[in-house]
Structures are given as structure tokens and as C-alpha cells.
């Protein structure tokens, strides 16, 4: 589901059964989706439907259009940086107390602080609440106390430690706030879907695509709706991965649209991720997301001469002249060069010829120049982005010395002009280019074939004798002798369990440890351990087509 259109595909083991494209009715997102589902499933036996997967803009739009619940945020900031939080329409309340970096309580809030906040929030007709403490992933007690106190008075209470196991207090605050704020909107959408499916007699489970290219089941998404934001680029990326032949290598993927070109990178066939999380409506969050960057250049970008120099984009004024528009575009140049077909070839050629004359070039030279400029800008953006990705900070000598850098060996392209422009991109990049068939529904295919993902952050502190895994809500006592081996086994088990809960049968083979370290903590003559393990079920496809 995009801003203007909604694309759908029905797939079976052999491939595409049906595809649907419909305009989005911005006043009724639910029915836009529901009608698309109904059309896709025409003639399909209900009991044969294995699952339904959606990439929706429900949460994204609610945030961007500010159709969210009035939200109160309770913060235990403790000492440190003084961040200001932008909570549109909501209110922020601070409580005293703090927890240190190991999760050791320094001091606690008092119970009457909660009662005063509850009263304030109710007086301000707050509907949803987010409670977040600094270092709450290490010790969630404050958040649990606050939630316990307020639970009967508000529709939703999001506790910061449940949204992510990563450290970053300001992002945890915004992520928790957004989660609480969109909860009600997403919940009613989920309820609508469930009831409609039930009415139709469909029992297949529903999964929602996340920004990291994985899915989450409807129940999970209802608890953590913030996970469903900005899944559009992930849908395109997963779709391209499914449609392209070459797998498991470093690649650059381009999605050339009318206005913009989106750029993605794969390392050994798996997407590069945002280091901390995605940004939405000015809020930097901890929501895991694939890394993508966008350049204001597309097939319909506005081509003009300014002060004797060729300019392309970043605006799109209209369709290409070749397709009934009024402004010259790169598409018109491709038509002139004989690489693309047109509805209005002569109008397109006339416009290009007259602009070529303006800067004293032959029309063919000018058309070539437009495409060369286009391709060069794309290549430069790709190279600069790669430079940024490859200089991300590392923290170990091993990584610095034999650090894995992203080195694309080929390019995959989708989008309207993909086929026409590929030979020019091939020349510009000096790399083989691949463009798949069916690229116009790549995003729907991506949404359909993505599988659930799970990421967990385990920390074991044998001095405090505490094991924590915020993502699965594990906070338990451990033995002094707990070691890295046990921690790794536990992390894998927890990731698998979380995967099973979401219906991943193949989770066993897909679970992996992504980071693991054990630090000696020396106190006098005693050495304890601070063990950190990250595990995940990595994003991928259910099966290729």
C-alpha cells in the first residue's frame, strides 16, 4: 500500500495467480485494503489460503497526518543530556529517581508522584500513556511500577523496555510515545480485518510487514503497532530480492520511480540496516529498518536549462511529454534515443529538439547528455552512500583490521524506466545490470514473500546475578557461574521461541547469533562477567518464485 495506489498479488507455489492495482481511498484505508483482498481471493478456495500478508500505511499515515490518541509521556530521565521531546498534542511528566548504566537503582520516585500525574493526565483527557526510564532496558522496575499504577485508567500503556532492547533513551521515548499514540488506530484496523475475514470464513493468519523487511503477526502488531511504520521501501526491497536471479552477493538495488530513485544495498544478499532505527515525521525511533536513501531523480523529473546549464529534478511537474505531459523529462530522452516507447512520440521529440537548440547541441547529443547526467548523479549518490555505510564506527580491532565493507558487484533495477535505462547505467557503473520482469508489482511480491523476523538483546551480569532480554520480557536471576556459552544457547532459544510464537516453523535453521561478547568485571579479587549476546531470525523470503 503506497500513497496513491494499492498493489496486491495472490501467489501459489508456481507463481502469480492474480494481481490487482487499485487507487487508495484516503478517507477509508480499511476498505481500500479489504476490497483489494476480496478481489485477489476471487475464485480461490478459502481453506487453501495459507496466509495473508500486508504492507500497510495505517500507522504511518496516522503519525504523519497526526490522527493519533492524545498521549501522556512519563519520563524518568535521571542525569545526562537534556533532550527536548516533541509530543504533538500530548503532555510530558517527569518523575524523580534514576537507574545507572548497569541497571542498579540510584534512587526511586515516590508513589504520590504517580497519583499527581494520573490526575493531570485524566484532567487533560489523555487516552494513551508511554512510560520510559533511562536505562530501563537494564532495569524495567520503574516502568512496571508506573504501568501497574495507571493500568485501569488508560486505553494503552507502552513501557519503554518493551519497544526495543537497544540503548538510546531519546529514541526509546519517541518510539514508545508513537506506539502508544497509534495503538488505538491500529487496533481498530486489526479488529476490522479479523472480523471481515471471519465473516468471509477465512481462517488464514494475517502478517504485517515491518520496516526491516520481516513480518509480525497481527496480534504482535497490535501490541507493537509502531513496528508497522514505513514498510514501503522494505516491500520494494524484498520484492526485488525475490525477482532478481543473483542471490547472496553484494548488490546495489535501484527503484526508479517517477519522482525519485530509491537506493538499497545488499551484503551477501541481505539488506544493510539503519544503525539505530528509522525516522518518521521528524521522530528518530528504535524501529529496526532496512537502509535506503532517496535521490530526487526519476523518469518524470523536470528537465530544463538554467543559465545555460542542464538541470534535472528534483521536482516532478507532470507525466513525460511522451505520455501527455507538458514538461520535458528523462523519459522523453529515452524515447528519443529509441530505448522506450511513447504515446506521443512527435510532441516529445519536438520539445527535446527545441531545448537542444537552446544550448546548441544536436537533439541526439542533448538526449544523451540528459541520460548521462541522470546516470552520473545516481552513481555519485550510490558512491557517497557507500562511503558513509563503509565508515560506520566499529569497536573491535578485528573489525577494524578485516572489517567487511559493502562492495557491490552488480546492480538490480526496477521501476518504469528500468529496462530502457539499464544499458546506460551499465556503462556508467561499469557493472552488470539486472532488471526483472513483473517489476511493477515488486512491492506486493515483497510483502507476500517476507517472513517473520525477531531480534533480541541478551545481557547477563553475574555480579548482579541478573539476566535480561527486554524484547521477550525476560528479567531473571542467574548463577554466578553463568557463561557465554549458556548465554548464546539461551539467546538462540529465546529467538526461536519468539519465532514459533509467530508461526515460523523453519525458525530453527534461520536463527543466528549476530554479536556475542563476555567482559571480565574486576572488583577487588573477584572477577564477574558482563555478557552480551544479540540473536535474530534474519529477514528473508519464505521461498523464491
Amino acid at each position: 500500500m503506497g500513497g496513491t495506489n494499492i498493489d496486491g498479488v495472490a501467489l501459489d507455489e508456481r507463481g502469480i495467480i492474480r494481481q490487482v492495482k487499485r487507487p487508495v481511498d484516503r478517507s477509508d484505508y480499511f476498505n481500500s485494503i479489504w476490497n483489494c483482498i476480496k478481489e485477489l481471493l476471487l475464485g480461490v478456495k478459502k481453506e487453501e489460503i495459507k496466509r495473508i500478508q500486508l504492507s500497510t500505511t495505517i500507522s504511518t499515515n496516522a503519525i504523519v497526518e497526526n490522527r493519533i490518541s492524545k498521549t501522556g509521556v512519563i519520563l524518568q530521565r535521571g542525569p545526562g543530556l537534556k533532550w527536548d521531546f516533541d509530543i504533538p498534542g500530548g503532555c510530558i511528566a517527569d518523575v524523580t529517581g534514576s537507574v545507572d548504566h548497569r541497571g542498579i537503582p540510584v534512587s526511586s520516585e515516590s508513589a504520590d508522584e504517580f497519583s499527581k500525574i494520573k490526575e493531570d493526565f485524566l484532567n487533560n483527557s489523555v487516552e494513551a500513556v508511554a512510560v520510559v526510564g533511562k536505562f530501563s532496558t537494564r532495569n524495567p522496575d520503574f516502568e512496571k511500577r508506573a504501568a501497574g499504577y495507571l493500568q485501569n485508567n488508560f486505553k494503552e500503556i507502552t513501557m519503554g523496555h518493551t519497544v526495543s532492547g537497544k540503548l538510546n533513551f531519546p529514541r526509546r521515548v519517541r518510539t514508545s510515545y508513537l506506539n502508544a499514540a497509534v495503538h488505538s488506530t491500529f487496533k481498530s484496523f486489526a479488529k476490522n480485518i479479523e472480523e471481515s475475514l471471519k465473516r468471509e470464513g477465512i481462517t488464514a493468519p494475517v502478517y504485517i510487514l515491518k520496516a526491516d523487511g520481516g513480518t509480525i503477526d497481527l496480534e504482535g502488531a497490535t501490541a507493537k503497532p509502531v513496528e508497522t511504520i514505513l514498510s514501503g521501501p522494505a516491500a520494494s526491497l524484498m520484492g526485488m530480492t525475490a525477482l532478481l536471479n543473483e542471490k547472496n552477493t553484494d548488490r546495489c538495488l535501484l527503484d526508479i520511480g517517477g519522482t525519485t530513485t530509491d537506493i538499497f544495498f545488499l551484503v551477501d544478499g541481505v539488506s544493510v540496516f539503519e544503525p539505530s532505527g528509522i525516522e518518521i515525521g521528524g521522530h528518530k525511533t528504535l524501529v529496526r529498518a532496512i537502509y535506503s536513501t532517496s535521490i530526487g531523480l526519476g523518469g518524470d523529473s523536470h528537465v530544463r536549462i538554467e543559465e545555460g546549464k542542464l538541470k534535472i529534478g528534483p521536482e516532478r511537474m507532470d507525466h513525460a511529454i511522451a505520455f501527455g505531459g507538458k514538461y520535458l523529462t528523462p523519459t522523453d530522452a529515452l524515447v528519443y534515443l529509441g530505448d522506450a516507447k511513447a504515446e506521443y512520440p512527435s510532441e516529445s521529440a519536438a520539445a527535446l529538439e527545441s531545448m537542444a537548440e537552446e544550448i546548441r547541441l544536436t537533439p541526439a547529443e542533448f538526449a544523451g547528455m540528459i541520460i548521462d547526467n541522470f546516470c552520473r548523479s545516481v552513481r555519485e549518490t550510490v558512491e557517497n552512500t557507500l562511503k558513509k555505510i563503509n565508515s560506520r564506527p566499529v569497536y573491535t580491532i578485528r573489525e577494524l583490521l578485516d572489517g567487511r565493507s559493502v562492495k557491490p558487484r552488480s546492480i538490480g533495477v526496477i521501476g518504469g524506466p528500468a529496462k530502457a535505462i539499464s544499458k546506460y547505467l551499465e556503462r556508467e557503473f561499469g557493472m552488470p545490470i539486472e532488471y526483472p520482469e513483473n517489476h511493477e508489482i515488486a512491492n506486493a511480491i515483497g510483502a507476500a514473500l517476507a517472513r517473520p523476523t525477531v531480534e533480541i538483546n541478551l545481557l547477563a551480569d553475574t555480579d548482579r546475578e541478573i539476566l535480561s532480554i527486554p524484547e521477550t520480557g525476560v528479567y531473571e536471576k542467574i548463577d554466578k557461574r553463568y557463561d557465554l556459552k549458556e548465554a548464546k544457547e539461551r539467546a538462540l532459544k529465546e529467538a526461536k521461541l519468539a519465532g514459533h510464537a509467530m508461526g515460523i516453523s523453519s525458525a530453527v535453521s534461520e536463527t543466528e547469533i549476530t554479536e556475542a561478547s563476555s567482559f571480565n568485571m574486576v572488583k577487588g579479587y573477584r572477577a564477574d562477567k558482563n555478557i552480551r549476546v544479540k540473536a535474530q531470525i534474519k529477514p528473508g523470503l519464505v521461498a523464491g518464485i
Binding site: 542525569p79 543530556l81 531519546p170 569497536y395 573491535t396 580491532i397 578485528r398 571480565n520
Partner: protein, 434 residues
């Protein structure tokens, strides 16, 4: 949140390196600092940039040290990366990427002297000096002040800049009579070409925030104003902290941040500091905010109580006396220097250097030749209790042609004797050893 000053951070905790598993200089040292910085959302502050370290080369090390038997044999990758982290910090500022930079790297370096037989005070390579020598080679001459706020006297840095008039070395430290390495009295003022440009400020145990502030305002800032450096480097050791296990001072995160803010260094480099849970996370956050020009007033240690760490009146009076003495000497440095060196053609200095970590005792004679036209060529004759010996010659960057020739003559003359012979020709950036 937007930083007033663009700040480059080289945060390299080297999570896979330790001197030994339970040594203070172990993998865990910057773990909680990194946790704190991540949790504070430092990465999301606009204007704060993270850079990976460079990896220093043999030549980068040889510009500063006479390593026995050689820099390759003595240093591990961790040392080359720590030094490379500082080099990156210089590139960030002098290459115009950021206004300021801070290298949070390990292991530290300020106890590493010109001659290196092994590890002393957890240091083998003087990372600031390697960074600065690299920067002078790459970006040209500059007058630099190194202000060392580590609790231990930076005897390595003092030794390296002893006779360099273009590098002012100021060290705040706990009085050497009460702490490793035992050096750093007020009377050690520098060699004949740079007399007075080695400024030691030994402070009594239990000096608190007020004492450091007093010395900064009344001694260090006036000296800097006089010297007019092009660049200020802060050797930001964090062991003056009241929780440090190895020292006896009462400095706080607020104190460190305020000091940094007033000192206004271009580049800071982490040195020592082994209170890895109680001090480093807060002191480093405070310094980063101060350098970025952001509000640090809420960076407070969990166990900090203002009254508890207030310095006594006796300590305050002693600090004031020392501050005054140091400033007076600075004002009279030229007169004092003339008295000492007039009519002499060279000055000799006998030293004994103990390598606490490696357990080596070194004796050396340094000789500074006095030249009317340049800082003069100097040399070190050194031997240790393991039977190793070396002769090292330095031709300084601004050496005159005669002194440069003198350096090469000395090299030829010493070759063939016992031990290794080194020549550092900083005018040509060339290094020889036999």
C-alpha cells in the same frame, strides 16, 4: 539537539584487547562509557560525528620514539590503532571536517618517552605525540599547547617536548612524591631551547573541583594567553576523579566538564582513568558535551554529593601557593634560562627510567646541543638492566643545515659501536637505524 561546535568523536573501545584479563587496561574499560553515550543518544546529536581510527604506520611511530629493538617488535595492533585514533582526531580538526575532536581510545600513552624498551604505566606509544608529529608533517608547523589533566605526571610527554619551543607542555597532577611515576616537580622546566615551556603543576592529594578551577584560571589560562598556541590539546586523563582506585584526588564530572569548557581545547585525547563504572561514563559524557558546546549541567555521578568532595582550607592554600609559584617562574623563564645556559655549547641530563609494567630499569644521558640558529640536535645514550643499549639522535623539524649535518655525522660516528643507533631526521621526515 544541535551542537554549537561540530565535534568529531573517535570512540574505539577495542573490545578485543587487554594487557591481561584482570589488568585495569582491559576490554571492559570503555564498555560502560559506550553504554552511557549510546543511552544518552549522543549519536543523534546534530553536529557530533563518529570516525573510525586510522592505523598508525611504523614511520608514524618512529617520528617520536626510539623503540628497542624496533617499533614492529614492540607494538601490537592495539597500539597502532590507539595512535591512529589520535591521528584521525588531528585530521578531523586540521582537515576542516569538524571544529573539535575527542579521541576516546585505549591504551593511553603519556608515560611513553622517547626511548621505549617496553610498557610503562600502561603506555608504550605516546599517542598524542604520534598524532601531533603526523599533523605537523601533514599540515605544517604550528605552536601547540598540550594540557595534561591526567592525575599522573605525563613524564613521557614531558620527555618528548623537553627541548621543543613550539610545544608548551602543561601538566596538572597529583604531587609526584605521593603517586606514580614520581616525577613532575615545578623545577623541571625544559631544555635549553625550550626553557620554561615545560610547566609542571603538582597538586596536593585531595584537591577538589575548586582547586583545579583555581589553577586553571590563575595559572594555566594566563600562560596560554602569553604563549598564544595555534592549537590546544587536552590529554584528558580521568583519574583525578574522586572514585578512581589508583589516585587520591576529588575531581568530579562537573569539574572535568567545566575545566574543558574553560580550557576550550581543539583536540582532547583520553589518557588514564580506571574508575570505569563510577567515573568514565560521566566524565566522558561531560567532556563531550562541553566540547560540543552543549549544556552539561545535568551530568552528575549517581553518588556525587557536593559537600562530601569539598577540599579543605589547607589544601586550598597549598594549591594557591603552587599556582602562584608556577606563574612566577613562567614570567621569569627567560632570565632564569639565560643564567643557566649562557656560554654553554651543550647541556647533559642524566636520567633513570623505570618501566613498571615491563619491569625494566633504564639509565640514560641526554645531550642537548645549543645552537644560536635553531633548537639544536640532541641525542640520548641509553642502556637497561637487561643488557640492551641504544644511541638515538634527533634532528628537530626546524634544525639549521649545520645541525642537520651534525646529526648525520653523529650517526656515522656511533655506527658499529655496541647497541642500536637511531637517527630521526624530522627536517626530511626520514628515519634510520643500525
Amino acid at each position: 539537539m544541535k551542537a554549537k561546535n561540530e565535534l568529531g568523536l573517535i570512540l574505539f573501545p577495542a573490545f578485543d584487547w587487554a594487557i591481561s584479563p584482570t589488568h585495569p587496561e582491559r576490554e571492559e574499560r570503555l564498555l560502560y562509557t559506550q553504554d552511557q553515550l549510546l543511552e544518552e543518544g549522543i549519536e543523534d546529536v546534530e553536529g557530533i560525528h563518529f570516525f573510525n581510527p586510522l592505523i598508525a604506520t611504523k614511520k608514524d611511530i618512529d617520528r617520536v620514539h626510539f623503540c628497542y629493538p624496533s617499533s614492529e617488535k614492540l607494538l601490537t595492533e592495539s597500539h597502532l590503532i590507539a595512535a591512529g585514533g589520535v591521528m584521525r582526531a588531528f585530521d578531523a580538526v586540521l582537515g576542516g571536517e569538524t571544529d573539535k575532536s575527542f579521541a576516546l581510545v585505549r591504551p593511553p600513552g603519556h608515560h611513553a618517552q622517547r626511548v621505549v624498551y617496553g610498557d610503562r604505566g600502561f603506555c608504550i606509544v605516546n599517542i598524542e605525540a604520534v598524532g601531533l608529529a603526523y599533523a605537523r608533517q601533514k599540515y605544517g608547523d604550528m605552536r601547540v599547547a598540550v594540557v595534561d589533566t591526567d592525575c599522573h605526571h605525563g613524564d613521557g610527554t614531558e620527555d618528548i617536548y623537553w627541548n621543543d619551543p613550539d610545544t608548551l607542555y602543561i601538566s596538572f597532577h597529583q604531587d609526584g612524591r605521593t603517586l606514580y611515576p614520581g616525577t613532575g616537580p615545578i623545577e623541571d622546566l625544559g631544555g635549553p631551547s625550550a626553557f620554561g615551556y615545560n610547566v609542571n603543576i603538582p597538586l596536593p592529594p585531595n584537591t577538589g573541583d575548586e582547586g583545579f578551577q583555581y589553577v586553571l584560571e590563575n595559572t594555566v589560562l594566563p600562560i596560554l594567553e602569553d604563549y598564544k598556541p595555534d592549537l590546544i590539546i587536552n590529554s584528558a586523563g580521568q583519574d583525578n576523579h574522586y572514585t578512581d582506585p589508583l589516585t587520591n584526588m576529588n575531581f568530579s564530572a562537573q569539574g572535568y566538564a567545566r575545566l574543558n569548557s574553560r580550557l576550550n581545547p581543539d583536540i582532547a585525547v583520553l589518557e588514564g582513568g580506571y574508575s570505569i563504572q563510577g567515573a568514565l561514563p560521566y566524565v566522558n559524557t561531560g567532556i563531550i558535551l562541553a566540547m560540543a558546546g552543549l549544556d552539561y549541567s545535568d551530568v552528575v555521578e549517581p553518588d556525587y554529593h557536593l559537600g562530601k568532595w569539598k577540599q579543605s582550607g589547607r589544601v586550598a592554600r597549598e594549591v594557591e601557593r603552587i599556582a602562584e609559584d608556577v606563574l612566577n617562574i613562567w614570567k621569569q623563564r627567560e632570565t632564569l634560562g639565560r643564567k643557566l645556559f649562557e656560554g654553554k655549547s651543550s647541556v647533559k641530563r642524566n636520567r633513570r627510567v623505570y618501566y613498571d609494567t615491563a619491569g625494566i630499569l633504564e639509565t640514560q644521558v641526554q645531550e642537548y646541543r645549543i645552537c644560536p640558529d635553531c633548537p639544536g640536535v640532541d641525542s640520548i645514550r641509553s642502556q637497561n638492566d637487561r643488557g640492551a643499549s641504544l644511541f638515538g639522535i634527533t634532528v628537530p623539524r626546524k634544525a639549521c643545515p649545520a645541525c642537520q649535518k651534525k646529526g648525520y655525522d653523529l650517526f656515522e660516528q656511533e655506527k658499529g659501536y655496541t647497541g642500536k643507533v637511531f637517527l630521526q631526521d624530522l627536517t626530511r621526515d626520514e628515519f634510520f637505524s643500525e
